[in-house]
Symmetry: D3
Subunit: 335 residues, 6 copies
């Protein structure tokens, strides 16, 4: 990590468990010579593969950071064969604020790859992951939840790859996570996400979307914890202590098609008419937008535009035109 703006006491080549910080210079009004101390741990032993575990891509998605903190504190390095690079709160300014986007420069970290080591703070953080960490690794796990705006069925996410060999490894890894659903999400081909960037870098890449809504639930933490351990076992880095490994039932894949996202055309309050996991049909009413300032005005219906499973729902009652209220996932077959 020479010739970079950031500094750390971590030695990525050393065996055992190291915990500390990557210090990113941050010269603001009330701290001319200060840093952002981004927490990091390296747990290394034997000669297995290197896996990056990332939490806190968005600062209001908590299951990943909680589970990665447990691993940092509790995992015995003697059980490791390979190397774990764990950054549980990569977007530290957003994590401290509980915000999706960075309060420093207003940027969405997950739309800034490959970043810029001399750019604004969020660009420096994505550059850190892209330029300093990706070259060290074989696999990349990016633990998201739905965030403040969305409740989502806990799911493991496949980022598409044009390379069939890599795509196969990704599908196998995502399936090993063993989430309630497995979904292909391409973000409309946006190249600026961390997972799209990791796939371009040739890493076996796994995403997740836990329950979300900006909160923490016991169920979602458990799914995330089990899934990460399943994955580490799948990669051969940490032997599983559970029998979960044996789950080799055939798995259904879903995708978010071009009509998956149902938007409000109005400002008001969204009332959903169904709960997550419901099977829905195009033409059914999905929900209503109410106009509380003028109760004389009838609410406006939002209608399903595709068949599938009700995969995501807007959490905050308030909506504005353009807000995504309902997300429907359709059965799919990743190519």
């Amino acid at each position: 990590m020479s010739n970079t703006p950031w500094q750390t006491d971590i030695d990525f080549d050393k065996h055992g468990k190291q915990t500390g910080f990557i210090r990113l210079p941050y010269s603001e009004h009330d701290d001319a010579w200060g840093v952002l101390p981004v927490p990091i741990a390296v747990i290394s032993n034997g000669d297995g593969p290197t896996v990056i575990l990332e939490g806190g891509n968005h600062g209001d998605e908590y299951e990943g950071p909680i589970v990665l903190g447990e691993i940092i504190r509790d995992l015995d390095p003697g059980r490791v064969n390979g190397r774990l690079i764990i950054v549980p709160a990569i977007n530290l300014p957003a994590v401290k604020a509980g915000m999706r986007v960075s309060p420093i420069d207003g940027l969405n970290f997950n739309r800034t790859f490959p970043g810029d080591p001399l750019g604004s703070t969020t660009l420096q953080l994505s550059s850190l992951v892209h330029d300093a960490l990706f070259p060290l690794a074989d696999a990349f796990v990016d633990l998201h939840s739905g965030g403040s705006s969305l409740s989502i069925i806990p799911s493991a996410i496949i980022e598409p790859s044009d390379d069939p060999a890599l795509a196969g490894k990704i599908q196998a890894a995502v399936a090993a996570f063993d989430a309630p659903m497995t979904v292909v999400i391409s973000n409309r081909g946006d190249p600026r996400t961390s997972t799209a960037s990791a796939v371009r870098a040739g890493l076996v890449t796994v995403g997740t979307e836990m329950a979300g809504a900006g909160t923490v639930t016991p169920e979602a933490v458990k799914i995330c914890r089990t899934g990460v351990h399943n994955l580490l076992s799948h990669f051969g880095v940490v032997e599983s202590d559970a029998a979960n490994e044996g789950n080799d039932a055939p798995r259904t894949f879903y995708e978010l098609g071009s009509k998956a996202h149902h938007l409000s055309e109005d400002e008001g309050v969204f009332e959903p008419l169904h709960t997550l996991g419901t099977n829905v049909r195009a033409g059914q009413k999905a929900g209503r937008v109410h106009f509380l300032s003028d109760p004389r005005r009838a609410p406006k219906d939002i209608v399903f535009e595709t068949d599938g499973i009700l995969y995501g729902l807007r959490h905050p009652g308030r909506v504005r035109a353009g807000n995504c209220c309902v997300v429907v996932a359709s059965p799919s077959q990743p190519s």
Copy 2:
């Protein structure tokens, strides 16, 4: 409504259905001679009692305003015996912002009674309810949900009264709402809430706490809708079309005791270990506060201090010292 700062076209003594606005002068930077148009409806027929139905006391609690909007649009005045005064979005500035407190003066409407007709906007709004509406009514229904910060078991709320006769009527009315739980909440005796104020004014008063978390769920809307119709039937103002009325099973009352509220002593992210409705015992772990900026630091436990039912949980993951994380309700007998 003469000699008051607000104006309206509504005639409170007229039969039939009237919908419109109470216009509160609001002279701000970019509107010297403007108003806040607070929506109101009066549905009147026959000679039964007058019931005030209030929604939007806090601006991020949506079930009440949604259900009251349905009544305003759909209720046939011919079915009414008495008078409904419906203010579904009383704290209009907060409702438009989706905030608990008013964005105009920062005040919590439910801590401002009896208000002040020449005070700041929120004080004028509570004065409107206290000085102009309470004198017209026999009963007052204040429809709350948990708001942005709390998930709560849907429940009907008893505001305590020193008058045994009034207390009995209140208990009967609250029981008629037929919510999943019935809870006595005194807000530590705070006299500034709308329900405490209504009880002092001698009104048969019913509160609610629907699911909350700043969102809308199909289940909570249904409970609220059914409960309000049960209440109107109980008051004899609108005959019920359902058999729900017949529910006269003995009802368990709960209360929030002096140890009901469990606070965080730290800034971090709260992970609950149980779900709403769980029976809990003093001494059990209730949850943990995680320190995501420094994963080396062990999370801090929050422990139940009383036995009871897990009645409320903080919704946002982020907590600061003093934030209420867990609320336990205990069986009680309203005096």
Copy 3:
């Protein structure tokens, strides 16, 4: 001015011209022992009456402060018979910000009378006028313009009085101002304005509404300048150098009736269809509210609800529900 929070070097009993400041202690974050230096001038000579001239009641209304500044700098005390107390920027924090309301406490100075010497800054300022200045004076002139939100026909304003003798003196003084229009405005009887308060204190009170829109125009400055000099001549305090005095044509009075203010019911952009001064009839279209985010939606008409003269128009294009878009004045006879 002993026993008050404010301090000044001005001696109200001294002859000649004094200019300086009333210093109101203001202990804020970055100035523990600072003051707000409210400019004031006293120009005194002979034994004529005392007239208070106030500008800057709202901080975005500029004609009054400009004209009062000219008098402070230019008026020869030898021409005075009586005493002028001139506070050209009474609401100094708002004047410095160019805001209608105070940036310190968010209050509208003109809704805070009689104020409170130990209250927040705006309350202290209105207390200064009410408690320290009103007792010194025979007459009070409060120079307003339309402010950022309104374009208004330049006019002199009558504040109603229950005392027929005082009412007569007020009408004579307002007529002497000789503005293009003379209008009775009661602010719906609000007792908290400076003019209502001055009338209660028995002062001969004159208000104005110059052109407004948060700007300055050569015409409005001229009307204000001439009017103030007419008034001072009428009061016998400063002999007029112009022949303007001779205008004793019979004068038409107008008032703002209960249907004068036409509000938007929607958020959008307001397009007026007529210009100020037009004679309008109830039922005519007054303007339209456009929905620029969705051009498919037809604009919504605003219709005149009364006959009269188009006296005021909203200036900013953007409107929200409740904003006043059109003001119609009707011929009247002050009692």
Copy 4:
């Protein structure tokens, strides 16, 4: 429009009238999977040229969006020969806020061309116009007004071109608009404006500056409406229903020279001494800056530095050092 971040249901090659939205993904804190729905209409028929009509470049300039909305709702496609691509609120976030600059990233849309499809929101919007719309068109009309800070004489604007043939077509088109004035404005050669960018792309480009001041006036709407219809007739896309076409009087051109803009050197309140349209001479007083916080201080004069017509005036009374107070246009001959 494949391989772009935005999506739309509009088919640019289809005849008839289509109205809808271009949806730009916008992943913010409270809407992870939402969009900005930028309104668009395509009205197509026959084989005439393609004209882009843009409004809402700045969000506080309303005549263009109002007139383009009328065309979208009212124009019979049967009257069209060619294709109109109408984006009446291109800078949607600014339009919704009534702001010159975007509230999302603080950028002035008209200083961001050619944009960046992966940049911040405003850069994506200018990329949309530059990369997706310009290649479809023969002509580009960008409808501005003075905005919140300036009152300007309604005028049609010539963007200079180095290509004599294109420059000639531009002059003819601008003259056809038939505004009260025709002015060459080069923005000091800034290449980042939408009109400079359109000229570089070879489009026949017409700009406007309507009355401004952040308001709407009946006169300016009429001039804008007539001008756009004149232009469409000139381009042969929509036959005019009026005789306006026949105006072929010789036209005077104006320009903003190097001394056109007169700036304040102080913070205070600007009082103009002349009205728009006045013929002025270098050395005359143009206005004064008043120091309302200290009326003892004499106002500071601003003096005309060039001869010409008083073309623009600052609208807000408040000025700071560097603010443009007065704009003088001089007779010119576009090369």
Copy 5:
């Protein structure tokens, strides 16, 4: 503490050391049922007097809270004869923000006595001190520093009293603190400060002003620590372990006269020409205000208006009109 909005586990009548919180209900947007946990300690033994030690009156004055924290953690209750009630961070919201005024309601705690138990948060906090703590105590020590805006010579402060007996006790106590200076400060007779309020309640009251500037220095902490221990020894509550007690040299008293505070009349940057402690004479230059945006303009002198010792200097370079730049203390004799 029954019938009050706040709650605490502290038993004021119990001997020994208790540390904990007073919990003030605070129902904000993201915490409906939360509290402000104001730290408090009671250290009690024997039958000596009760002394309240208050820190954090303003949130950016740190010596008091630091020294009181040491006492809370380190003082052996066995050494106490009497009762210490220690509230080291009374204005908790301001202390957490490092602000003079409360970020919740914008109020300066030290201008809100006697407070209001049902008012806004700051009013509730001053009511807590006034209504719940003052009645328990014999003496009150309010530890201030200069705060963010002022550097002050460390000093002990006498609040004037009309009661000669109380005034004598106050002078003796303040002298016992043994600060580098002893100053009478009456805040122009403002009755709303905590010390003025304590004096009215008959308490022996001691104030301080440590070095200030919003920072912490080793010297100021030492002076504060020694002074508080001197005071507790003087009150007979904690026996001193040092010989400091013996300091009975005659003491010079100073006061802030009517010309003590020197204000800027301009916006700019203040350069002092002397350092704290300098003996100054009326007519000398005290400093200059520079106009950095226009270096052609000569700086404006501020001139001493009285003789005395340079007691306070504005810390931030930036000044606005009305800001206090220089404070001169004059020798005095408290009556």
Copy 6:
């Protein structure tokens, strides 16, 4: 300066003293055609070298701008041999706000070189210095102080150069400044500072760090004034009137090593235990972080990690994790 966005009346080739502004177009919401008037002076005579003197790189560092203003107003051009280009408030928006970073785009000017003439305001300002001024000059002097967050021993700063000849000239010039300390600061090799950029451009470059803390002290102004005059004498541009020139005592150089900066790991209030200039040893306690919200918690020590001189201290009491609290300089030999 043709083909650039900025304009000026200054003629860089003219002899004598010229003062004025570089006007950078700045089109914001309330000033569409305005500018930022950045003050500049050119004082030119004879054929000596050209020296750029820059102040206001950060807006809260005042000694440089004050001293440069004196030179602009007072220096007789007849005493000059060469050319002084003085920009005393280069980052004008930050200087007017008293902020380290620009309030317009949030950027730290000193991390934006070489800038961008079409970028955001701060990028345009650094481009102005880099593209328009550097090519005219032989030497560059950048006058910093510690800013709001740091108190620093007044010192002259060496920016490292790879070119031994240039490095030698820089060391000689920095030594001639004759500050209390001379320190090599490389900002960890960051290429985006103005001094690193000037060195790359081949200019003899001198930096400074005056006392700081966001304030002005008589001592620091004197050191800055003397140092700048020493420098101009050293460069042969202005003959010194003082004997200071003769100081050729051997000079000790210091540097900030990899362990120079001591950061807080916690949020709290920092108490230093030593004053600036103290000789310190690794392992000693440097200070403590206090937790004022919970006095039960013991403060956390910060320990010196290196030997040296205590060169800098955090000024604001409040700290957050990552804030720099203590800076230690070590003896060094610039290569």
